[in-house]
C-alpha cells in the first residue's frame, strides 16, 4: 500500500499569539509553528498501517517555519519519503491548499487501488476540517472525516473504518481504496522519537523540494480582519435587601430600555 499523508504546520498556542500590524495575520515575531496535532495522528496511523500491511509512507507539506523538524521526525518514525512544497504560499486557505495538493498528486503520484490518502481531520485554522473534502472533490475520491480507527481487509482490498459523529455516536464503514481519510486519532498515541534518531535521519535522508506556483489557483477566500476574542459583559451580583435589589433591577432595566 501507498500511504500519502498531508501535513500542516499551525501556530503553537502554548506561545502567546499576537496580531500583526496589518490586522489580518499573526505577528510572526511571536509565532512558533508546530505540526497540527491531528496530522501527527495521521502520520502515526499511516505508519501503524504500514507496519501491519507493508508499503510506503510519503509525507507532504507546504513550506512553513519549523517544517523540516516535523518532516524529519516523520521520517524517523518510519515514513519513507518527505516532500516539501515551496512557492509563494502566504495566506492561502484550505480550498487553495487542496488545489495545490491535487496538483502535486496529479503530477507526481499514481492514485490506484493501492493508494490511501490521509490527513488530520481538523486543525486550529481549519476547525471544520474542510481541506480533505476539497481535496477529495478535486481527485474525485470518497472521503471520510473524524476517523478514529482504520483496519485493512486484505481479502477484499478495502478498509473498515470507525468515524465519530456528534453526541457520542460512532459509525463503522466499509471504505474502498483509493480514498481520503481525515484522521482524528490514531490507534496508538503518536510515538516518541528520541533526538538521536532524528539527528541520524537528518544525516542520511533528504527532504524532496517541489515548487508549485501559486498562480492559477482558484481560491477566492481572503481574511478581512483578525481579532482577539472580545470580552463579553460580566455577571453583576446585586446585593442588599429584596427592596433594594428590586429598585436596582428597575433602574438597570430602565437604563437598558427594557422597560
Amino acid at each position: 500500500m501507498n500511504f500519502i499523508v498531508f501535513l500542516k504546520m499551525v501556530p503553537d498556542v502554548i506561545e502567546e499569539l499576537k496580531i500583526a500590524g496589518d490586522g489580518k495575520s499573526l505577528d510572526s515575531d511571536w509565532l512558533r509553528m508546530k505540526l497540527n496535532e491531528c496530522d501527527e495522528h495521521a502520520v502515526e496511523e499511516a505508519i501503524i498501517l504500514k507496519e501491519k500491511t507493508g508499503g510506503k509512507v510519503t509525507v507532504i507539506a507546504l513550506d512553513a517555519m519549523e517544517l523540516d523538524d516535523a518532516l524529519f521526525s516523520a521520517l524517523a518514525k518510519g515514513a519513507d519519503k518527505a516532500v516539501k512544497i515551496t512557492g509563494n504560499l502566504q495566506n492561502i486557505h484550505s480550498p487553495a491548499v487542496a488545489e495545490i495538493y491535487a496538483k502535486y498528486l496529479k503530477d507526481n503520484c499514481l492514485i490506484d487501488n493501492k493508494t490511501l490518502i490521509l490527513s488530520g481531520s481538523q486543525a486550529i485554522d481549519d476547525i471544520e476540517g474542510e481541506m480533505i473534502y476539497f481535496l477529495a472533490e478535486l481527485l474525485n475520491l470518497p472521503v471520510y472525516g473524524v476517523v478514529t480507527s482504520v483496519s485493512y481487509n486484505s481479502d477484499k482490498n478495502d478498509l473498515t473504518i470507525m468515524k465519530e459523529f456528534s453526541g457520542g455516536i460512532r459509525g463503522e464503514f466499509e471504505v474502498e481504496i483509493p480514498s481520503v481519510l481525515g484522521i482524528q486519532a490514531a490507534e496508538n498515541p503518536p510515538r516518541y522519537i528520541p533526538i538521536a534518531k532524528i539527528r541520524a535521519i537528518m544525516k542520511t535522508s533528504t527532504i524532496e523540494e517541489i515548487e508549485i506556483p501559486e498562480d492559477g489557483l482558484t481560491e477566492k477566500i481572503a481574511i478581512d480582519k483578525l481579532f482577539e476574542s472580545e470580552v463579553s459583559g460580566r455577571a453583576e451580583m446585586l446585593e442588599g435587601s429584596p427592596e433594594e435589589i428590586s429598585a436596582k433591577l428597575i433602574e438597570i432595566f430602565t437604563v437598558k430600555g427594557i422597560i
Binding site: I14, E15, P189, Y192, P194, I195, A196, K197
Partner: protein
C-alpha cells in the same frame, strides 16, 4: 621432613603434585580466559582515569574492606575472612612453589616458627567461626540470607582446609615437638602412644588432603559465587569514583544513545559488576523501589546479567536463549529505579548498578518502549525545553511579583548566575519558595541574575530516563546560553540540576581550564551566614528533621551545609535513623516523577520517609532542600494522614522566617 617426599605406586609425590596443580590451573585458567574473553567482547570503555585515585580506592575498599563495615555484624568477620584468606593463600602458594620446585631455597611455611604459629592459631579461630556460621545458618538465619548449595560447598572446603591444617600440626608435634606449635602440642597429647613414623605419615596425609583441597578450591572459585574474590579487586580498581554514577561511557566510540539490550552492548565494566557481585544483598536492603513493594532488585539485575552470560556468553547462543531485556529483566523493573544511588553507596565491591540500568533504559527509549506519560514529557522537553510544557517565556514568571526585578544575566554582568531548574520556576507550589530564596539573596546584597527564557531543563532526569540525545541537545543549548552570560559563579536550586551542571556539563572558566564554581543554594547560604553577610539574630527555636536529597547528599557529599544553616537559625535538629548517605529517596528521581506506579505499591518511598520523621518525638517540621521533595513529601504527608503532625518546609522558607522576624 618434606611432605612431598612420599611414593605412591612407586611414583614420587612430586609428580602427583605437578599433576594436580596442572589439572587445577587448567580448570581455573580455562574459566578465567573465558571470562576475560567475554569482557573483551563487550563494549569498550576507558576506565584508566587516574591511577593514583584508583590505587587509593583499592587500598580503602579492598585491603581496608571499608564498605563491609557499613553493616556492623559482618564487618569485622569479613575483614578477618579477607585477611585470613590472603594469609593462607600466600602460605599456600609459598608451599606449592617449594613442593613443585624443591631446589628453591625456602622452607615450608609451617616450619617458619611465627608463621606456623599464626597458621594454627588462626586455623582454630576459623574452625570456631565455621561452627558459628553453620549454627547461624541452621538455627538463626537472617531473613535476607540466601541459603545456597554453593555456600555449603565453600564452607565445607574451608572446614576441611582448617581441620587438616590443625591436625597436621598436631601429628607433626608428635614427631617433632616445637614451642611454636602450642595448638599442635595440645592436641597431640591425645595421641599418646603414637609412633613417630606413623605420626609423620599422618602429617603427610593431612598435608596432601590440604593441598588437594586448596587446588580443588582454586579450580572451583571461578565457577561459584566466590568469583567475587577474583573479580572484585579489579572491579574496585576500575571504579573511577570522581563522578557519581557516571553515565558517559568514556571511549565507547560510537553513539551511546542506543543503549544496551544484549550483553555485548553493555560495557566490560558493566559485566565485571556482575562477576564481582557476592550477592550479599546490601543494595536490595536500601533500594526504595524494592522496599516499596516493587520488583526491582539491584542484586537480581546484576545476577540475571551474570546468569545470562553463563547461558549465552560461554556457549554458542541458541535460539532458545532468553532475551536480556523483557524476559530476564522485565521492562517495568527497569523503570522502577529512582537512580537514588543507595545501592552503589552500599555495595562493598563498588558495583555500579545505576549506569547498567540507564544503559538498558536507553535501549527502551530508542525503541519507543516507554510509558505514555514519559513520552509526553519528553515531547514537551524536546519542544519547549521544560517538563511542564510551558512557553519558555513563562520561565521567569515567578519574578513578576517580586519588588525588584531579577537581573537578566544575558544582558548585564552579575557575580552569581542562578540556574533555578524547572520545578522551582514553573511549579505553582514552589514558586513562592523560589521567591523567598531570591529575597534571601537580595537581603545578603548578592549580585545575581538568571537566564530568563534561555535556561532549559538541565537534563538530569532526561538522561536517567535514557534519552541521551535529548540530554545532549538541552545541554548544548544551556552551555551556549551560559557562555553568553557574564558571571563569576553558578548557583542552583534543584539538586538534580546542581549535580548535572557540576558533574556532567564540564563547564570551564573562560580562557583557562578551571572548572566553573557551582554551588547549591544551601552551600551559598551557609557561606553567607559563616561570613556574617547574612546575620541571623532571631532563633526559630523549633524541632525539625532534615531530609538529605539524593543528588545533594549521596551524589555530591553536601551533608553539612544545610545542617549548619538549620543550627544557625536556631533549629533543634533531630536526625532520622536513615540520614546522610543512608538517606531514603523520595521516589521522584531518575524520571520517576513522570511515571505512574504500575504495580500496587506497599508503601511509597516518600510515605515511608514521612512515617520515619513522624516517629521522631517532638519533630513537627520536615526540612528539605529540593523542589521535588516539596511536591513529593507534601503529598506523602497527606496520603499518610500526617498533614497535621508534620509540615514540609524548604530550608529557604525557614531562613526567610528567621530573617524576616528580626
Amino acid at each position: 621432613m618434606d611432605p612431598v617426599d612420599i611414593k605412591i605406586f612407586g611414583i614420587p609425590g612430586i609428580y602427583y603434585l605437578w599433576l594436580f596443580t596442572v589439572i587445577s590451573l587448567f580448570f581455573f585458567l580455562k574459566r578465567a580466559v573465558k571470562i576475560v574473553g567475554i569482557l573483551k567482547k563487550a563494549k569498550p570503555e576507558n576506565r584508566f582515569g587516574n591511577f593514583g585515585r584508583q590505587a587509593v580506592n583499592f587500598l580503602k575498599f579492598v585491603l581496608g574492606q571499608r564498605r563491609l563495615f557499613n553493616e556492623k555484624s559482618i564487618g569485622l568477620p569479613h575483614f578477618l575472612f579477607f585477611w585470613g584468606f590472603v594469609f593462607y593463600a600466600a602460605s599456600f602458594w609459598w608451599n606449592l612453589i617449594k613442593g613443585l620446585l624443591p631446589f628453591v631455597p625456602i622452607g615450608y611455611t609451617d616450619n617458619i616458627g611465627i608463621i606456623g604459629l599464626a597458621l594454627e592459631v588462626m586455623g582454630v579461630l576459623v574452625i570456631i567461626s565455621i561452627i558459628i556460621a553453620v549454627l547461624r545458618r541452621l538455627f538463626f538465619p537472617p531473613a535476607h540470607l540466601q541459603q545456597t548449595y554453593d555456600a555449603t560447598i565453600i564452607l565445607s572446603l574451608i572446614a576441611i582446609l582448617m581441620i587438616t591444617l590443625v591436625l597436621g600440626q598436631s601429628f607433626k608435634s608428635v614427631a617433632e615437638p616445637s614451642s611454636w606449635s602450642p595448638v599442635g602440642k595440645f592436641i597431640s597429647a591425645s595421641f599418646s602412644g603414637m609412633s613417630g613414623s606413623s605420626a609423620i605419615s599422618l602429617f603427610k596425609g593431612m598435608w596432601w588432603i590440604h593441598i588437594i583441597t586448596v587446588l580443588f578450591f582454586l579450580a572451583y572459585i571461578p565457577y561459584s559465587k566466590h568469583m567475587h574474590l577474583l573479580a572484585s579487586p579489579f572491579n574496585v580498581f576500575f571504579r573511577d569514583n570522581l563522578k557519581p554514577a557516571d553515565l558517559s561511557i568514556k571511549g565507547a566510540g560510537d553513539d551511546i544513545s542506543s543503549g544496551a539490550s544484549k550483553w555485548q552492548e553493555l560495557t566490560w565494566k558493566d559485566l565485571l559488576n556482575s562477576f564481582s557481585c557476592a550477592e550479599c544483598g546490601r543494595c536490595d536492603r536500601v533500594c526504595p523501589a524494592l522496599n516499596s513493594g516493587q520488583e526491582l532488585s539491584p542484586r537480581v539485575i546484576l545476577h540475571e546479567i551474570k546468569e545470562h552470560l553463563y547461558e549465552t556468553g560461554f556457549k554458542t547462543p541458541t535460539n532458545g536463549s532468553h532475551a536480556l531485556i523483557g524476559e530476564l529483566i522485565p521492562r517495568d523493573v527497569l523503570w522502577q529505579c529512582t537512580t537514588c544511588m543507595s545501592c552503589m553507596e552500599q555495595c562493598p565491591v563498588l558495583n555500579e548498578h545505576v549506569p547498567v540500568i540507564v544503559s538498558m533504559r536507553r535501549n527502551l527509549i530508542n525503541r519507543g518502549e516507554v510509558e505514555q506519560t514519559v513520552q509526553d514529557v519528553l515531547k514537551k522537553l524536546q519542544r519547549y525545553g521544560n517538563s511542564f510544557g510551558q512557553s519558555d517565556r513563562n520561565r521567569a514568571k515567578w519574578t513578576a511579583t517580586l519588588e525588584t526585578k531579577v537581573k537578566d544575566a544575558r544582558k548585564e554582568e552579575v557575580e552569581y548566575l542562578w540556574i533555578t531548574g524547572d520545578y522551582a520556576s514553573f511549579d505553582s507550589r514552589i514558586q513562592n519558595i523560589t521567591q523567598k530564596t531570591s529575597m534571601i539573596f537580595k537581603k545578603a546584597g548578592l549580585d545575581f541574575g538568571i537566564l530568563y527564557e534561555a535556561e532549559k531543563n538541565s537534563g538530569n532526569d532526561i538522561r536517567r530516563v535514557g534519552e541521551e540525545g535529548l540530554f545532549e541537545f538541552l545541554k548544548d543549548k544551556n552551555i551556549q546560553a551560559i557562555k553568553k552570560a557574564k558571571f563569576k559563579k553558578i548557583i542552583t536550586t534543584d539538586p538534580h540540576t546542581y549535580s548535572t551542571l557540576k558533574n556532567e556539563y564540564d563547564l570551564k572558566v573562560n580562557g583557562n581550564g578551571e572548572n566553573v564554581s557551582i554551588q547549591h543554594y544551601t552551600e551559598l547560604i551557609d557561606e553567607l551566614i559563616k561570613d556574617k553577610i547574612l546575620i541571623i539574630r532571631k532563633k526559630l527555636g523549633i524541632n525539625a528533621t532534615y531530609h538529605d536529597p539524593c543528588y545533594l547528599g549521596r551524589y555530591n557529599g553536601v551533608y553539612e551545609p544545610p545542617r549548619r544553616i538549620l543550627r544557625a537559625i536556631g533549629i533543634n535538629l533531630e536526625e532520622m535513623p536513615r540520614n546522610r548517605s543512608r538517606s531514603y529517596c523520595c521516589g521522584a528521581g531518575g524520571g520517576r516523577i513522570w511515571m505512574e506506579d504500575k504495580v500496587p505499591i506497599k508503601e511509597r518511598p516518600s510515605e515511608s520517609r514521612i512515617r520515619e520523621a513522624v516517629s521522631l518525638s517532638n519533630v513537627k517540621t520536615f526540612v528539605v532542600a529540593c523542589p521535588k521533595d516539596i511536591v513529593m513529601f507534601q503529598d506523602a504527608a497527606k496520603t499518610t494522614g500526617n498533614e497535621d503532625k508534620i509540615k514540609v518546609k524548604d530550608i529557604s522558607e525557614l531562613v526567610w522566617d528567621a530573617l524576616e522576624s528580626q
